[in-house]
């Protein structure tokens, strides 16, 4: 019996190749998209799921309110000893510094910027015991200063050995001057963990070495995101209890012992370890991978659901359109003894065969999809046919889709009355409305997505082309090595200034707009005696800074040259914040630069965007302090020049660099590219929405194609009669396509408000954004109508051009 079903299913598919092709294609595209998104979601959701007692592990993080405010994923270093005192609540704790830096082994080449290094005490492994120790153990390997533990892979990389045990006792240097001895080896870490440390340096090394200058232990003033404290709570203890006791103690100590005193109200909170991978506000560690963006993941999962849903709808639509063709077969089978149940099983099996084919095709599509979106998909996401999880997902997906897609057509077709079915007159008209409904639904989704896509595209375009308040074209900048001597910076700057191709050059702290920023709490004593404190954005630079970036001085003058803070410029927003509606009135006012040093405002610059357009323009101060200048920015004279010419200048610049910083890499950036990169996630959203939109349109078009084929087949006789009576081809095409335009218009009534609402929500994330104009609504509906007409017109035209004699013979 089963064999017979499969046989007839296969032959049916073969016989109706176009129908099967459209059906399989529609389903495969939906399934393929669903599969890619599933793999991505499965990847993101599988991080650190293997950790023992993960539900009891929490990270302590800080919040601040006052002259500066916000969150910090780290805590002051003094927190480490405080948690050790709370043994009733905390079973074990791990305080560690996340660091990176160069590694030097013997006389071999320097390994630059090695990531994944933690300075940790043995207790780290009490909180996270899931490490396999190949040689050594936490206590013997990490108790003494100047000891390090490496993963097997790192050990082999550094020491050129085959047996990891041979690395024990070997020496190497961290950041040029910290000597370390290998005292333990752990197995390589799994791919899906955020604790991706491949080297541990013993925590006692901090006190014993120059590291203590960087990572001042037992300090409340400095909250660095690299200083992390994780705790494993005693069984039965709730995080709120810890926040109430430990958090309050820490808060009080912060007030008492930190430099900020009453100016800042600090808070200390617990973040569940299971939340680590998903909290975009706190992020994971410095230099680490990015956390999964849950809204994006949810958006993706809903997109997967919607795409699969419209693919299934499409399938149902196309199947029921074919139903009348199958009615005779139903009649025969019933007449010779087939029961309804047997027919339902037969149709469901046919759908299953189609679904299996579609799933197979979707595997290939998913592979292509993963490659195409490689830039947006983390490494390690992929289908593993041997994974029981992936296999059961595929199996579940296949069965669910086959059931959802097959149930309705099977139910309808098996219900035909045999006496009618044998005449091919199975009642079918009711399904026409259903099919129309399904098409409308598909076009609602398609048009909403087109609208959203248009809005994202417009906003991106706006952001990339908006006047930022400074020049960004033809500007190249690069960082000088960390803690470089001031003389070296000046020598390099002077050498570069001599290049005829360089129009302007400046040494400064940051480019006018940057993704990272530093702030300083500045105080102003107003005429009324009120003290105005504000955490102001710093953009320090030399006197060429505002010339290089073409910023306008709207009142006063530029600073005079100075290597230390002597005079300052403020932006218009700061002048206003201080209460000066007329910028010129702010000139000469003295500001307290934090430590009691008073500096006068000598000029006010026009407002400019200091970061991406997500942020509003805020008070900015420009001062001079050569110690802080880490960037050399320069404007190239490149109007009308070829790329090769620019390349040649950059190569000469590199030669100059190498004379002053031999062995350091010369890594330059173009400012316009840096600014474009502010909007990487928006570009990602744009790619994603284009992808979802294209698939939705594609599947909807397949649905339309199915429906027009059905309609023209049903109306063949009518078309013939109309032709005989004198209807023109145009009139007939209009007759056949009119209904589809109406369907699209009906869908637009629902889709446009949805698209508008969603886009408006998305745009609220930007302090500066486009407005959703009337023309966008017209364009979206126009595009949808055009797409629908292009899809149906070919079939309609073919039907209208058919010889009426043939169509009238049809009955």
């Amino acid at each position: 019996m089963l064999q017979n079903y499969f046989k007839i299913a296969a032959r049916n598919l073969w016989r109706n190749k176009l129908h099967a092709f459209i059906n399989v294609l529609g389903l495969s595209i939906g399934l393929g998209a669903c599969l890619v998104i599933y793999l991505l979601a499965e990847y993101e959701l599988s991080f650190d799921t293997f950790r023992t007692d993960k539900e009891r592990i929490y990270r302590i993080y800080s919040s601040f309110d006052g002259v500066f405010s916000g969150f910090n994923r780290g805590v002051p270093t003094a927190m480490a000893s405080l948690v050790e005192e709370e043994q009733q609540l905390i079973e074990s704790s791990a305080a560690f510094q996340v660091v990176s830096g160069s590694i030097k082994v013997d006389d071999r080449d320097l390994l630059r910027q090695q990531e994944g290094i933690a300075i940790a005490s043995p207790t780290y492994f009490d909180v996270f015991p899931d490490y396999e120790w190949l040689v050594g153990n936490p206590v013997t390997s990490l108790s003494e200063p100047y000891k390090a533990v490496l993963t097997e892979e790192r050990a082999k990389q550094y020491f050129d050995i085959t047996d990891p045990g041979e690395a024990i006792g070997q020496q190497f240097h961290f950041r040029d001057s910290l000597p370390l001895t290998v005292a333990g080896i752990i197995a390589n870490i799994p791919k899906r963990t955020d604790l991706d440390f491949e080297m541990f340096i013993s925590h006692s090394t901090i006190e014993a070495s120059w590291l203590k200058n960087n990572y001042e232990p037992n300090n409340w003033s400095n909250t660095n995101s690299s200083h992390q404290v994780f705790v494993k709570l005693q069984s039965g203890i709730e995080p709120e209890q810890v926040e109430a006791t430990l958090g309050q103690d820490a808060k009080a100590l912060y007030k008492k012992d930190s430099y900020f005193g009453d100016d800042v109200d600090a808070g200390f909170h617990l973040q569940s370890f299971t939340d680590l991978h998903y909290n975009a506000d706190l992020s994971i560690f410095d230099h680490s991978r990015e956390p999964a963006h849950m809204p994006t993941l949810y958006a993706l999962l809903s997109i997967a659901g919607i795409l699969l849903f419209i693919a299934i709808i499409n399938f149902i639509n196309l199947e029921t359109a074919q139903a009348s063709r199958r009615s005779l077969e139903v009649g025969i089978r019933k007449a010779i003894g087939g029961t309804r149940k047997e027919l339902i099983i037969q149709f469901l099996l046919e759908t299953l065969v189609l679904t299996v084919v579609a799933v197979a095709v979707s595997l290939a599509l998913a592979k292509v999809g993963l490659r195409y979106f490689a830039d947006y998909i983390p490494e390690g996401v992929g289908l593993d046919i041997t994974s029981p999880l992936h296999l059961s997902f595929l199996l579940g997906l296949t069965l669910t889709v086959a059931l959802l897609a097959g149930a309705y057509p099977a139910f309808i077709m098996s219900g035909y009355k045999p006496a009618f079915a044998l005449k091919g007159k199975a009642k079918n008209s009711g399904h026409v409305n259903l099919r129309r409904g399904l098409i409308i639904f598909q076009f609602i989704i398609a048009q909403a997505l087109i609208f959203g896509n248009l809005a994202i595209g417009q906003q991106l375009n706006y952001m990339l082309n908006k006047d930022m308040g400074f020049e960004k074209d033809a500007i190249v900048y690069f960082y000088v090595p960390w803690q470089s001597a001031n003389e070296k910076k000046i020598i390099l700057a002077n050498e570069l200034r001599a290049y005829p191709e360089i129009k302007a050059l400046s040494l400064h702290e940051q480019t006018p707009a940057s993704s990272s920023y530093s702030t300083t709490v500045m105080k102003y004593q107003s005429k009324s005696g009120e003290e105005i404190k504000y955490s102001t954005y710093r953009k320090f630079g030399d006197t060429s800074f505002i010339h290089l970036y073409g910023m306008d001085i709207i009142a006063g003058r530029n600073m005079v040259p100075s290597d230390t803070l002597y005079e300052i410029l403020v932006n218009e927003a700061y002048a206003e914040y201080l209460g000066f509606d007329n910028p010129a009135d702010a000139l000469g006012e003295q500001l307290d630069y934090g430590d009691g040093k008073m500096v006068p405002i000598v000029g006010v610059v026009d407002n400019f965007h200091f970061s991406s357009l997500h942020d509003k323009i805020e008070p900015v101060v420009i001062g001079s302090d050569i110690d802080d200048y880490g960037i050399i920015g320069l404007k190239l004279q490149i109007t009308g020049q070829e790329g090769a010419h620019i390349q040649a200048i950059l190569e000469r610049m590199e030669q100059s660099w190498n004379k002053i910083y031999p062995g350091e890499p010369f890594e330059y950036n173009f400012l316009d590219e840096t600014i474009a990169n502010f909007y990487r996630s928006e570009r990602r959203a744009s790619v994603l929405s284009t992808f979802a939109m294209s698939i939705a349109i594609l599947i909807s078009c397949l649905g339309l194609l199915g429906l027009i084929s059905y309609t023209t087949a049903q109306r063949t006789k009518e078309i013939g009669i109309r032709k005989v009576l004198g209807a023109s081809v145009q009139q007939l095409v209009a007759l056949l396509t009119k209904d589809f335009v109406i369907l699209v218009l009906v869908a637009a009534v629902v889709a446009l408000p949805i698209g508008w609402y969603m886009s408006k929500q998305w745009l609220q994330d930007f302090a500066y954004h486009i407005h959703l104009d009337w023309w966008m609504f017209v364009l979206v509906t126009g595009a949808a109508i055009l797409i629908a007409l292009l899809t149906v017109s070919f079939r309609a035209l073919r039907a209208a051009l058919a010889n009426p004699a043939d169509s009238l013979k049809y009955e």
């Binding site: 019996m1 007839i8 077969e329 003894g337 087939g338 045999p418 044998l422």
Partner: protein, 229 residues
């Protein structure tokens, strides 16, 4: 075997009510070969569909093999049908996607006959209908006469007690038509009860009784006196 009492069938659309059968009472005994005649639209096919349990009457009684079946559910009718009735249609109604062998095999599959037994019986009946050499062909590859022979093979493969034929020669030329008629007579002689709807007086006279319908009512019943074969 078959007894109907004032059988009524009414088709209703939103505005029109058409009476296809108007109080038809007939009786057919096991072993009979009955021909049903009448002009187009007189209700012949409707009657045949009801007798074949692929349609329900709107009123009256229908006794088939001593069961009152007029109000049977589709499931029960299907059970009775597959074990007792074979159909032969004017347009053959073979399933295009199945081969000759598979078409004939289908009723046996539905009555859950085992694989080897199925093969044996299909081969037997194909042999009988002289279609063995075409067993792997698809219906479109056969002539009309050959297709009808396959349809007959399919109708009799389950050894049904009742064979219903709806204009079995309507789509055939006279030579193929008379071959089919000879087969039906032969089956009747072997004990099968046959009810055949036809327009052709010539074919009708192969049976031993002719029932004439007009406007949904039985107008005459004659015994065929002359045996053609």
């Amino acid at each position: 075997m078959i007894r109907t009492n004032e059988l009524v069938k009414v088709y209703r659309t939103e505005e029109v009510e058409t009476t296809a059968l108007n109080k038809v009472s007939i009786e057919i005994k096991a072993g009979e070969f009955v021909s049903i005649m009448g002009p187009s639209g007189c209700g012949k096919s409707t009657l045949l569909n009801i007798l074949g349990l692929i349609d329900n009457p709107s009123g009256g009684e229908y006794h088939f093999l001593d069961h009152e079946v007029s109000s049977y559910s589709e499931r029960k009718r299907s059970q009775l049908r597959k074990n007792n009735i074979g159909f032969i249609f004017q347009s053959f109604n073979l399933i295009d996607e199945l081969t000759v062998f598979e078409n004939v095999e289908l009723p046996l599959i539905y009555t859950k006959v085992g694989g080897s037994e199925r093969k044996k019986r299909v081969e037997e009946v194909l042999e009988k209908m002289n279609m063995m050499h075409r067993r792997n062909h698809f219906p479109q590859q056969l002539s009309g006469g050959q297709q009808q022979r396959v349809a007959v093979a399919r109708a009799i493969v389950n050894n049904p007690k009742l064979i219903l034929a709806d204009e079995p020669t309507g789509n055939l030329d006279s030579s193929n038509g008379s071959d089919v008629m000879k087969t039906l007579v032969h089956l009747n002689n072997e004990g099968a009860t046959i009810i055949m709807v036809t327009h052709s007086q010539y074919c009708a006279e192969f049976g031993n009784r002719i029932i004439r319908l007009l406007d949904g009512q039985v107008v005459t019943e004659n015994i065929v006196s002359k045996q053609l074969l």
